[in-house]
Structures are given as C-alpha cells and as structure tokens.
Symmetry: C2
Subunit: 206 residues, 2 copies
C-alpha cells in the first residue's frame, strides 16, 4: 500500500531525524527533511501523510513523534536480525560496517563455505560453516539475509536460503537470482551504478 519509494525515504528520514534529535532539535520542517534526502518539501509532506503523521504550520513536525511513527511503520523499534552469507571482501566490509550497533540492523551470524573462516568471530558475529545455515535460520527465525558470495555460487546459495525460510535477500552478486515471487530480492549492483553514473555525469542529459 505504501509506495516503494516512500518506504525507502522513510528509512532515510528516520536516520536524519535521529541525528537531529541527538543534536537537540525537537522539530523540523518538511523542507529541512527534503534537503537531507535530495527531495522536495511536497514529497516529504506526502510521505509523512502516507505515514499518518501531521505537523503544524508553526512548528513543523515533532522529531520524536516522527521517529516513533517511523519505528512503528517499520515495526522495528527493536533491532532486526540478519545473517550474512559469504565472507569475502564485501562481506567483511559489511560486517565491519554494521558492527557499530548504531543502526537497526544486527548481523547475528555469518556463513561461509571456507572451513578456514569457520568459528572465527569477525566484528561480533561468529562465522559458521555453510551447512549449518538452514538450522540456524529456522531455529532463530531469521527472515533476511545479505548475500555476498561469488557470482558463480549465488544462485545455489540463494536456493538454500529460500529453503531455509529466508524471505528477503540483499544480493551483492552481479547475477539475477531466480526465486519465487514471494521471496523479496534487492540487488546492489555497483557496476551498474557506476555505468549509470558515468552516463549521466557526462552530459548526456539528466
């Protein structure tokens, strides 16, 4: 029901709202939020309307209230548990990135097919042998996975994830995973991003 783009922006709003809160700001105007996400104030107001929030023309929106609403929307005032599969360069970078504990994302375990990596604790999350993935996922009721295995192994690993009960996959492999429609896949495709960037930044019009 909520537009996909709105969902994406809500995540961003929340991040900036928390920063604002930490700085002691208690209310914000739509145009301030707009600045933070490269959008327009009308868009922000629309998004917040979809959320069911409202502000006042005088004080704008209440920071705390907004955060609370977005937390509720994402239904995760608490942290979301996620697993990571494939401890290569990118995998490790992500482990490091999320170890801070500052975000809502908690990588509770990582998996790899290289026995050398097993049992090591990298940035707070213990590495398991890939064979244990299924058990871990079902026992801990994990729904989301970050997939960082090489392209050649991506599909088969994704199949394992699916059969284990994973419902959402953030896929870093430059491969289009074939999975049933009820599994939600989001691709992070850096090569594509750069090519797009090069295209649009070389004058070809925006």
């Amino acid at each position: 029901m909520t537009p996909e783009k709105t969902v994406a922006r809500l995540s961003l709003y929340r991040r900036f709202l928390k920063l604002a809160k930490d700085e002691g700001t208690s209310n914000v105007y739509s145009h301030q939020l707009a600045d933070m996400v490269r959008g327009t104030s009308a868009q922000v107001r629309r998004d917040l309307m979809a959320l069911g929030c409202s502000g006042s023309p005088q004080k704008g929106y209440d920071v705390n209230e907004l955060i609370k609403h977005i937390d509720e929307f994402f239904n995760t005032s608490e942290v979301v548990d996620v697993i990571l599969v494939g401890i290569g360069n990118i995998g490790r970078a992500l482990l490091s990135y999320f170890k801070s504990g500052k975000s809502h994302i908690n990588i509770v375990a990582s998996f790899d097919s290289d026995r050398q990596k097993v049992d090591r604790v990298i940035n707070n999350s213990k590495c398991y042998y890939i064979e244990e993935l299924s058990k871990f996922v079902s026992e801990n009721n994990i729904k989301t996975a970050i997939l960082c295995v090489p392209a050649s192994e991506a599909q088969q690993t994704a199949d394992v994830l699916m059969h284990s009960g994973i419902k959402g996959i953030l896929n870093f492999a430059p491969v289009r995973l074939k999975l049933p429609a009820n599994i939600f896949v989001e691709d992070v495709d850096i090569t594509m991003n750069i090519e797009k960037l090069v295209y649009f930044s070389s004058g070809k019009r925006k």
Copy 2:
C-alpha cells in the same frame, strides 16, 4: 532523453549479453533478457527500441549487434577511468572487486588521508595522499569518483572532488551530499536497502 531506468537496465543487458556471447549464443529473445533482469519482455523491447536496435521475430536480437549498440550508447567500448577515495573496508572491497579487469570500470588510483596507506598498491591501484587528488584528477581528466570515506568526512571530501572537476560521485557514506545540480550523485545506502527489504519481505504487501 533515455529514461533513467532504461539506462540502468541497459547496463545489465550488456553484462548478460557478454556472458551469453562467451557461451556461444548468437541471438536472444526479449523474454530471455527479461528473465535476466527481472523484467518483462515488453520492457526489454521498449528499452532496445529506445536504443535504436531491432530484432526479428524469428531470431530475436543479434547478441553482437546488441552489445555493440550498448557499448556505443555508453560511449565506452573502452574502459572508464575512475578514482576511489577512502580506503577503509568498503574501499578495499571495491578495489578488489574491480581489479579483475573484466568490467568496464577501471579504478586508476585511490586516495586516503591516512599517510600509512599512501604509496601502497592495493589491487593494482596505487594509493595517494588525499592532497594529491586535485592534481591527479585534473591531469588525468577523471570525471567519476567512488566515495567511501566515513560519514563525518564525506561532505568536505565531496567538495574537494567537485572543485577538482569530478562530475559524478558514487557515494557510500550514509549522508546526503550537498552539491550543485550539475554534479551527479548516486547513493548506495545499504542500511536503507535492508530496511526496505525487511519491510517488503515481512508480508506488508509488495
């Protein structure tokens, strides 16, 4: 003129076309390409139409011809030179990711403010001290940068990039860069991606 989404998909098509070519495939149907990018055949045909390509109902599209057209479209049958700024975990992962030489992206140099890292060669690209960035960029006419510095340094580094003549920035910092509109910025925001994923994969409707 060409829709942004089409540009993104063209990059993907090319990747799969090259794989297909390597496997000896000489022509493809729109529905095959569609499968590879999670799209529909009509969409593929539209995209290719925008490109100015045409196929035949019998043989579909000619793989070589398509690749040639897309190369021309991106105007880079040759490799694109890019720099990377910030050699932290993500930076290193990207250096490794692109060292293969298989892609169109060539990271020609990297920069960091940590003198310890300077002069090391990581995955083919030499690391320079950040102060040398401006000179390097203008001398080598670099137009595109990958920004992987910590959030706290992102904006000031982006300013330097802009003043050096960079036109496109792939930004990994969880910060919205404020730059003039003629600089094209593409954000890679993993936290946001995961939050979106969690939202949509937990049944909240697609």
